[in-house]
């Protein structure tokens, strides 16, 4: 297909530019959240993430003067710095929200009761008062300052360790792992045996069964929620890990069988016939020949099922319950969006903890994922 574009450089350039635009459109949303997750809460609300690398001149939130007073020359003096980190340069400052830019840095403001306040460009301040400030409400300082770009990993350490919505993201991470791994492994074996029977054994009704499974492929799992919850309660496992493992296994089976059958049908007939002639039983053929040969298909399905169970919200909400030791990452994230919707430093870091593992799986095993997709869509 290069032969078409290659003759027209202008068209090729248009293609390059369009692809760059498409890729940007698809990457920028995630990238924005990633950048935000490394900024402090103040930075996130005071400027867009796309300005994270430039020095910002912004109005900072008010900071209240605080510190131990020292008696000096008959006045009570408090000295300190408005900022914990260095590098910020104040351009204007003020002591009331009505006039946040009343003074230049280095000027001295006279406040009530003879109190004076001087703020230097780097945020150092001197508050001086004729009477003790112990009983006094100390003034707030509004600053317009430019601060250099700054990144932090504190957001991550915060969300992983401390509970934000019932429990910590770290705990939710473990819960999700507990759900996803058995729910990925168990259906593979069950499906592999069934797929072998559907691919290589002759029996009446085989075509009908394949059609049945293709039909189940599209049944919305929404229909299964209440009847299965009733069933789980009836057999006494109720809500919990056992129930969700069973549910994920059941919901994953149609795709697993369909994908594996399609793959196994394509295996060379000679190998299987030869093994039969040599006296191998079906069980031996399956374990020794089919299973090793089907590895690519097994891997594709495993990745699918893992991504699906890791990212699932509905099944977890219904079958796992919402107790603190049972909430999964997606459930936790939804709760955070409800209760801490404006705290982007928490939300962005939590979201990235939850999508890190799928992204890792995705980028390391993309080949298998693509192969699975191509085999799994009904043709």
């Amino acid at each position: 297909m290069d032969n078409i574009a290659g003759k027209k450089p202008a068209l090729l350039w248009a293609v390059h530019i369009s692809v760059v635009a498409l890729v940007l459109l698809w990457v920028v949303p995630t990238f924005g959240l990633l950048v935000s997750s490394f900024r402090t809460g103040d930075q996130i609300v005071s400027s867009g993430w796309w300005q994270a690398l430039s020095t910002q001149e912004t109005q900072q939130p008010a900071i209240r003067v605080a510190g131990d007073e020292v008696e000096k020359d008959g006045a009570f003096v408090i000295e300190g710095n408005l900022y914990e980190t260095t590098g910020t340069t104040i351009s204007r400052w003020g002591t009331s929200s009505r006039e946040p830019e009343a003074y230049a840095p280095g000027e001295t403001a006279s406040l009530d009761d003879g109190v004076t306040l001087t703020v230097q460009p780097d945020g150092a301040y001197v508050l001086s008062s004729p009477a003790t400030t112990a009983e006094m409400r100390l003034p707030r300082v509004f600053t317009t300052a430019s601060s250099p770009p700054e990144f932090t990993v504190n957001n991550y350490s915060n969300v992983i360790a401390s509970p934000m919505a019932g429990q910590s993201i770290g705990q939710a991470f473990l819960n999700t792992l507990t759900v996803a791994i058995p729910a990925t492994i168990i259906p593979i074996l069950v499906a592999a045996f069934a797929a072998y029977a559907l691919a290589w054994m002759e029996f009446p009704g085989r075509a009908l069964l394949v059609a049945f499974i293709v039909g189940l492929l599209v049944v919305p799992l929404q229909l299964a929620l209440i009847p299965l919850l009733q069933f789980h309660n009836w057999i006494g496992i109720g809500k919990g890990y056992l129930g969700i493992w069973m549910a994920h296994t059941g919901f994953g089976l149609p795709l697993a069988i369909y994908l594996l059958r399609n793959y196994m049908v394509g295996l060379p007939r000679d190998i299987i016939e030869n093994a039969r002639v040599d006296g191998a039983t079906d069980f031996q053929i399956f374990v020794r020949i089919i299973l090793p040969l089907s590895f690519p298909a097994l891997a594709s399905f495993a990745i699918f099922q893992f991504l699906w169970t890791w990212n699932d919200l509905l099944v977890a909400l219904v079958f796992l319950g919402t107790g603190n030791d049972q909430q999964v990452l997606t459930g936790n994230l939804v709760n955070l969006m409800g209760s801490r919707g404006g705290d982007w430093e928490i939300l962005s870091a939590s979201a990235f903890v939850s999508i890190a593992v799928p992204l890792l799986v995705f980028f390391s095993m993309q080949r298998f994922l693509v192969r699975g997709l191509l085999a799994g869509s009904v043709k």
């Binding site: 297909m1 032969n3 078409i4 574009a5 090729l12 293609v15 390059h16 369009s18 692809v19 698809w26 990457v27 949303p29 996130i44 400027s47 867009g48 819960n175 507990t178 168990i186 074996l189 045996f193 072998y196 029977a197 054994m201 029996f203 059609a211 049945f212 599209v218 049944v219 919305p220 799992l221 229909l223 299964a224 209440i226 009847p227 299965l228 890990y241 056992l242 059941g250 069980f283 991504l307 990212n311 919200l313 049972q326 997606t330 994230l333 939804v334 939300l347 962005s348 979201a351 939850s354 999508i355 799928p358 799986v361 995705f362 980028f363 993309q366 693509v370 191509l374 869509s377 009904v378």
Partner: protein, 409 residues
């Protein structure tokens, strides 16, 4: 027991149990029930191989029947019952159709069903065609494919940051509002907010009419298989669809001309009734485009080279080659992609729950059902709405089954 330990035990028991079951059942079949020796060796071998497939199939079939087939009927049964379990017949359905929230979900779902598969497939086709031609195409593909790995909830967080709105006086941290505030009513605004959408709508109508015409032509060519009445009905239906599309397009063009955009005011994108649906759909399109791209890209590579070469020799330009040679040949795959995304759309729940929870007229069926089931605890109504989802999926189910049956013959 600690859940992690329990998980480990379950893996062991599950895997071991599976292998053990298959091994033991085969052993019982071959050695005890129908041993391949003695006076009836031949008959026994035949019987054993008649039973064996069912041994292999049993666990999977049992799970499938219990976890997917039975619930369809159980849900249908539940939908005919009231809150306290009494039989109420169709009362749940009647009550549901009278609810404004249900009508809203149905309307929104229809919108989702049209927009998301169309947009995802179109973007996917575009990405597949463009990336196939350049050297760094594989990197580009993998980046566009990446959202596939992100959960709907994670994607909702990502897009919520983009849609974030603050007061006009302070800096915007949402990308969309930051871009929006760049528009000031000047020539740039006219170009991007009036002219470009205007052209897009016209292009959409032209495309829809062309597709309808193409479909009608295809049907006409195979009309021997159809009886006349069916053909006439199909043509009338297609005409109605085209007329409806044109009518809607004219309406929206008029609205576009009359529209006075609120320049300089940050918008709460998720709270603008009707339009907020599109901002939610964008999330799903963002996720599904990669899927469409991967499958369509494989299909495009499967287009026979000689048909393209023949077209080049005949003097076709790249656009003609794409639309007249390649696209018709991968029509089957486009249909597959379209239906697969359609099914995903019908089940969409997480995005709406996480971003608006159905407020501001964004309710969809799956979230409506979740509301009924687990917030109002009305299992009858919830099941009834689940049955509506099933009903909407059924044509695709039948179509898939029909195709597979045809393929296996």
């Amino acid at each position: 027991m600690h859940p992690a330990l329990q998980a480990f035990v379950v893996i062991l028991v599950g895997v071991g149990g599976c292998v053990g079951y298959f091994y033991a059942s085969n052993l019982v079949l071959d050695k005890i029930l129908f041993p391949a020796r003695g006076p009836h060796a031949g008959r026994n071998i035949n019987r054993a191989s008649a039973i064996r497939p069912w041994l292999f199939l049993f666990p999977a079939l049992a799970l499938l029947c219990l976890y997917l087939a039975y619930p369809v009927f159980a849900t249908a049964w539940l939908s005919l019952h009231g809150r306290s379990g009494q039989f109420v017949g169709g009362a749940n359905y009647i009550a549901m159709f009278g609810e404004p929230k249900f009508a809203e979900s149905l309307k929104n779902n229809m919108l989702w069903l049209v927009v998301v598969p169309a947009a995802s497939t179109a973007f996917g086709l575009l990405a597949a065609q463009l990336t196939d031609r350049i050297k760094w195409g594989n990197i580009a593909k993998s980046l566009i494919f990446m959202p596939m790995a992100i959960s709907f909830v994670g994607a909702s967080v990502i897009f919520k940051l983009i849609y974030d709105a603050r007061d006009a006086e302070v800096a915007q941290i949402g990308l969309l509002n930051a871009l929006w505030l760049k528009f000031d009513g000047g020539p740039g605004s006219f170009l991007f907010l009036k002219l470009l959408p205007f052209l897009l709508v016209i292009a959409f109508v032209v495309l829809a009419v062309a597709l309808a015409g193409y479909a009608a032509q295809a049907v006409a060519q195979t009309r021997k298989d159809f009886n006349g009445r069916l053909l006439a009905g199909g043509i009338v239906f297609a005409l109605l669809v085209v007329l409806y599309a044109i009518w809607g397009a004219v309406g929206s063009l008029w609205g576009l001309v009359m529209w006075a955009p609120p320049f300089g005011q940050p918008q709460n994108w998720l709270q603008l009734p009707f339009w907020n649906n599109f901002f939610l759909m964008a999330v799903l399109v963002w996720i599904q485009t990669g899927f469409a791209m991967v499958i369509l890209s494989a299909a495009l590579r499967g287009v026979p080279e000689d048909t393209i070469e023949a077209a080049i020799i005949d003097g076709a330009n790249p656009f003609q080659i794409f639309f007249k040679i390649k696209v018709p040949q991968i029509m089957g795959t486009i249909v597959v992609v379209w239906t697969t995304i359609t099914i995903t759309v019908l089940k969409v729940f997480d995005i709406v729950l996480a971003m608006t929870n159905g407020q501001w007229e964004t309710q969809v069926l799956a979230n409506y059902m979740y509301d009924k089931l687990f917030r109002s605890l009305d299992w009858g109504m919830g099941s009834a709405s689940a049955m509506i989802i099933m009903l909407l999926v059924t044509p695709i189910l039948v179509w898939n089954v029909w195709n597979v049956r045809k393929e296996m013959k």
